[in-house]
Symmetry: C2
Subunit: 83 residues, 2 copies
């Protein structure tokens, strides 16, 4: 089994109202040293071993997990350590 860690972030230049809201809340709490906040998604997938796993993850991201028009994605594949 493999563990796939996926990061999905908004492309540069795309407005991030959620990030702005978080930044504003932090400011209200007194954290005015925070100059910018961008919010993204993070997913952990447990996937059966397969030679084409990277290819598959890319199609998953393109088709379902990310919106390639406004989002970038990146991923890393690691071995699942059995307990």
């Amino acid at each position: 089994m493999k563990k796939v860690l996926i990061h999905i972030t908004l492309k540069e230049g795309v407005l991030d109202p959620q990030g702005k809201a978080v930044q504003h809340s932090l400011e209200t709490l007194g954290y005015d040293t925070v100059k910018e906040v961008r919010v993204g998604k993070y997913m952990e997938l447990v996937v059966e071993d397969d030679a084409s796993i990277e290819q598959q993850v890319e199609t998953m991201c393109e088709k379902l997990l990310a919106n390639p028009v406004i989002e970038n994605y990146s991923y890393t594949v690691e071995e699942v350590v059995p307990l």
Copy 2:
């Protein structure tokens, strides 16, 4: 300036309906090798340099960014590379 990368994930044992929904959608698309999906949050903060930055980020996570009852958080601090 520093860039703080924050990962927020549900604690082990906490149900993740969003992850289940994603897994189900992937299955519908034919990706039945995906055995588990957990969805988390990922944030990038740009913060002014400060000696106590790690301490501050921890309080931000505890107070606002994460729900410490059901979520774990982790973060890394890196230097912002000027363009």
